[in-house]
């Protein structure tokens, strides 16, 4: 591969300086986290990826419609949970490395290659890059789902969930997953799992994004949003009063007439 991979991890030379700054009152900005519920499931001849769309900065919803499913290759996509900047930049970096790999080998890139590149990158940073990822894709060996943790370990699974809403989503998937589901069944299961995360976890919310990657379908089917769950309530009452609510008894119009004009210079010095 022609691209340069940075040899080391982070440099921690500034740790003492930063600790001193914090003790003097400097407040570091809160990392934008994705809170999140992300899932990936394998179906008969493909994978279905799902994610919610809420990004939080502490207790505030920073982005109501963030895009948590990132493209890695034509038929490989990656859901990201954890620190939003880390998931975005890591997946972008590996996306370009995979494109270079595709050009240099002349073959369609395999999902396991994306998995290797991502985990080797994250391991080098010893967990300081907070990216928890679910890769889903189809290659000539079939559909695959990989789960990668911030410290650099990965697992190959038939279904996976990550993020703060992962327990709620996993409960739904453990109840409903079967091998060789159809596309419709897979999409419903993913929708139900993300919905469980959105309604039961405060770190997840807004809407459900669903991406379907199938072997025989050339393009990835992107449903963004697939369903809006966190809809703002519709106001039931209206406080505007229509004309005529108060009866008009008499109308008198008094025009303002200009009697005298006087110009005074303003002191501008």
């Amino acid at each position: 591969m022609s691209c340069e991979i940075h040899p080391g991890g982070f440099s921690f030379a500034n740790i003492t300086r930063n600790a001193n700054l914090e003790s003097m009152g400097f407040v570091a900005p809160k990392a934008l986290k994705t809170g999140t519920t992300i899932v990936g499931v394998t179906i008969a001849d493909g994978v279905v990826l799902g994610a919610d769309t809420r990004a939080t900065a502490g207790d505030i919803v920073a982005d109501k419609n963030s895009e948590k499913i990132h493209r890695l290759a034509r038929k490989i996509y990656c859901c990201g949970a954890g620190t939003a900047a880390d998931t975005e930049m890591t997946t972008r970096s590996i996306e370009s490395q995979l494109e270079l790999l595709r050009l240099s080998t002349g073959q369609e890139v395999r999902v396991v290659a994306a998995d290797r590149l991502l985990k080797q990158f994250l391991f080098r940073y010893q967990g300081h890059i907070g990216a928890a990822l679910i890769i889903g894709g189809v290659d000539k060996l079939g559909p695959h789902i990989y789960c990668i943790y911030p410290h650099g370990s990965s697992e190959q699974l038939p279904y996976a969930t990550m993020g703060s809403g992962s327990l709620a989503a996993m409960a739904v998937i453990e109840t409903g997953w079967r091998p060789n589901m159809t596309e419709a069944e897979g999409m419903k299961l993913v929708r139900d799992a993300i919905h469980a995360g959105i309604t039961n976890d405060l770190g997840s919310g807004s809407s459900v994004d669903v991406y379907v990657i199938k072997k025989e379908v050339a393009d990835v089917r992107i449903h963004r949003p697939y369903e809006e769950v966190g809809i703002k309530g519709v106001r039931q009452g209206d406080y505007t009063f229509s004309r005529g609510t108060t009866a008009v008894i008499k109308t008198e119009i008094i025009p303002i007439t200009v009697e005298n004009e006087e110009i005074t210079q303003m002191e501008t010095d």
């Binding site: 190959q156 327990l167 109840t175 309604t199």
Partner: protein, 241 residues
């Protein structure tokens, strides 16, 4: 706390010393994991597995964590097992006192929930908590009642209650399937399905559990029942990358 080794400071050191703030907040020793409960049309159903964990050791594999109090009330307890046994002794004595009074007034789930809330909150306010989360349930005035109290004294009522990891794993499942006119059979199935997923995903869970049901006909605890797990996905997992 004074540092001189006088007889006074030793003799009162364990029970009710007033020399300085009390520092008796413990770490739980033998613990039970989640309790689940759901209200159906006509009663309530409880589920709790039979494991007493000793840290990460699955030490006592036949602990009953559901307690029948009378024909209309039941509790399930999570957390320190010794604290549960302490509460059990006190509550069972309260039930016996009720029978002795012979005035047809027995402990109701609502009053027990209220009593437990006060006891647990007061103990935590003295920095001496009972390290337990209790689910109180039963029939009161013909309708099902379900309440939660934890070691801090946080208390609430809901048709669906799950403690500990159950709140993150089982609650989403139960909320999806719950309806106000849920039947007993559906409620039992809900508890069964939730206990299965709990066994899959809670590292301190066990495959045997007790099922408690309170209806107008009375209160019964069945078990130990066994979770029927499905490990067929194991053949699909090979290698880690």
């Amino acid at each position: 706390m004074s540092s001189n080794l006088s007889f006074d400071s030793f003799s009162t050191a364990i029970a009710g010393s007033h020399a300085g703030p009390k520092k008796l907040t413990q770490t739980p020793v033998t613990t039970g994991t989640s309790v689940l409960a759901v209200k159906f049309n006509g009663g309530v159903a409880f589920g709790a597995d039979t494991l007493g964990s000793y840290g990460s050791l699955a030490r006592f594999r036949n602990c009953e964590r559901l307690l029948k109090i009378n024909e209309s009330t039941m509790i399930g307890c999570m957390g320190d097992y010794a604290d549960f046994q302490h509460l059990k002794d006190i509550i069972e004595q309260m039930a016996i006192d009720d029978l002795c009074k012979d005035d047809n007034i027995t402990l109701s789930p609502r009053s027990l929930h209220s009593w437990l809330t006060r006891v647990l909150y007061n103990k935590r306010s003295k920095m001496d908590p009972l390290w337990t989360t209790v689910v109180v349930g039963g029939i009161e005035k013909g309708e099902g009642f379900l309440g939660f109290v934890d070691k801090l004294g946080t208390a609430y009522k809901d048709p669906i209650i799950a403690t500990g990891y159950g709140s993150m794993i089982a609650t989403p499942l139960m909320r999806n399937a719950w309806r106000p006119d849920l039947t007993q059979a559906e409620a039992v199935k809900m508890v069964e399905d939730s206990m299965r997923v709990m066994f899959y995903r809670d590292a301190r869970a066990f495959h045997k559990y007790h099922l408690g049901i309170v209806t107008a006909d009375g209160c019964q605890i069945q078990g130990p029942l066994e979770v029927q797990p499905d490990w067929s996905i194991a053949s699909l997992i090979s290698g880690y990358e």
